[in-house]
């Protein structure tokens, strides 16, 4: 299972407590994980990536294994530790606004 950590406001919106665990078909890419996340929690559509362009929202970042993966192409495989569920994909809100 893939583990995903959502920021506070999205946990509230999706009505989940801690980490989200997802079953992802095929390679564990950003796109595959977000597709699975939005399929299970439709209220998150549009909140992490734009619904039309599928671009990551500007004030969100994707971290895993102490790396910033935000600028990686959406179809590149994430680290093996994420694919194996040893490490979570962290969706993090930028610190902006003071």
């Amino acid at each position: 299972m893939i583990r995903v950590v959502l920021p506070h406001h999205l946990r509230t919106l999706a009505q989940v407590g801690g980490e989200v665990e997802l079953s992802v078909e095929g390679e564990a890419t950003q796109r595959a994980i977000l597709d699975a996340l939005e399929a299970r929690y439709p209220m998150l559509r549009g909140t992490i990536r734009d619904q039309v362009t599928l671009q990551r929202r500007a004030f969100l970042r994707f971290f895993a294994c102490q790396e910033d993966l935000s600028h990686e192409p959406a179809d590149v495989s994430l680290p093996d530790a994420v694919a194996r569920g040893e490490e979570p994909l962290m969706i993090v809100g930028a610190i902006a606004g003071g």
Partner: protein, 371 residues
């Protein structure tokens, strides 16, 4: 017995205030959607327990929420606002061409007759419609494709479609207003749109009498007279008696005619309210005195309403969607401030008191009169 429910959108959540018909004691419920900007909360005239809320954030974008129980519980509905076709460009602040981009929903206007039909006014300016309770949204694209779209430009708050007025006598007629494009009207249910800005004069555009480019801040209508509209423009308070074909200025003796809100008394179609603001560079009341101005003659002659409002050291603003009236007797008038107060008058403006204070900055106020 009748009662009132006030729907307040703020920078950090929504609040629902309820009272009996006396409107003296208020229960405050909230914050709903804590931490999110709530640009607007609106109830369906056809089913008052059906509410819609626009929830947005710079981080997470746009969410639309719906309630079936008058705001006690909420559930997210559809939030995909996709422009029809290739959106093209509008003017940017510097006059350059800028691509149309969805940013947020400023205003929700439920149908007068069908709880599942609701309109949304968005930034960058466009009108959307849902026929299934907000699950799916479709652009009413005749407006943006009217032809003047490339000349529209954002006001300081963004290029927002902030006013949607449905004509109760004619379901094919809708009025909308955009900052800074102006006012538009459809007479065929949204297929085609007519700019209705003749008579508006704006010194901040190259041609002060141009067909579009006017920074309209808000419009209001009394349901018994759908051909009469009142407008608070950036500067100038205006009225039309012919559905927008021609506007005339009615600022009269106002101490300043800059402002954001305008509304109409529920039982007196010629009694209107504005909150004059010092200027577009100083967004607070003149002399630090918070004063609502009322005209009982449809404009020109105005009286200051001050009883119960702070008359010194008050430097809040009252934003464009932050005034509403109930239809109780006497008419209740409500407005919210960027200082977090919601003031109410239960005597048509003669006296005021805060019904809640110290909320986050208030973006919008609506009121439902419940029987």
């Amino acid at each position: 017995m009748s009662s009132a429910r006030v729907l307040v959108g703020t920078r950090k959540g929504a609040f629902v205030l309820t009272s009996d018909g006396k409107r003296k004691k208020w229960d405050v419920c909230g914050p709903h959607f804590a931490g999110w900007e709530i640009y607007h909360v609106a109830g369906s005239p056809a089913d008052p327990n059906r509410l819609y809320a626009s929830q947005s954030s710079s981080w997470f974008g746009q969410v639309i929420q719906r309630s079936e129980d008058g705001g006690k519980t909420w559930a997210p509905v559809g939030n995909k606002f996709e422009y029809d076709g290739v959106p093209g460009t509008h003017q940017w602040y510097d006059g350059s061409a800028h691509p149309w981009e969805f940013k947020r929903v400023w205003h929700l206007e439920p149908s007068l007759t069908d709880p599942d039909v609701v309109y949304a006014g968005i930034e960058d300016a466009a009108l959307f419609r849902s026929g299934d309770g907000g699950q799916n949204w479709e652009e009413v694209s005749g407006l943006r494709k009217h032809g003047s779209g490339p000349k529209w430009q954002p006001g300081a708050g963004g290029m927002c479609l902030h006013t949607i007025i449905l004509d109760p006598a004619n379901p094919d007629r809708i009025y909308i207003a955009i900052s800074a494009a102006g006012a538009f009207r459809t007479d065929d249910g949204g297929k085609s749109w007519l700019p209705i800005n003749r008579g508006l004069t704006s010194q901040y555009i190259p041609d002060p009498n141009a067909e579009v480019g006017h920074c309209v801040h808000k419009m209001a209508m009394h349901p018994s007279r759908p051909n009469v509209l009142f407008m608070q423009k950036h500067w100038d308070v205006m009225r039309t008696d012919n559905a927008g074909d021609v506007w005339t200025e009615v600022s009269g003796n106002l101490p300043t005619d800059f402002g954001f809100v305008v509304d109409v008394h529920a039982h007196e179609p010629e009694t209107i309210y504005v909150v004059p603001i010092k200027s577009d560079s100083e967004h607070y009341p003149l002399e630090g005195k918070l004063r609502v101005y009322r005209s009982r003659s449809g404009g020109h002659e105005w009286e200051a309403l001050t009883k119960g409002l702070p008359q010194e050291n008050c430097y809040v603003n009252v934003l464009r969607d932050a005034m509403a009236v109930d239809s109780l007797d006497k008419c209740g008038v409500y407005f919210g401030t960027t200082g977090g107060q919601v003031y109410a008058s239960t005597d048509a403006g003669d006296s005021w008191e805060p019904i809640v204070r110290d909320l986050p900055a208030v973006l919008s106020v609506e009121v439902q009169t419940l029987s």
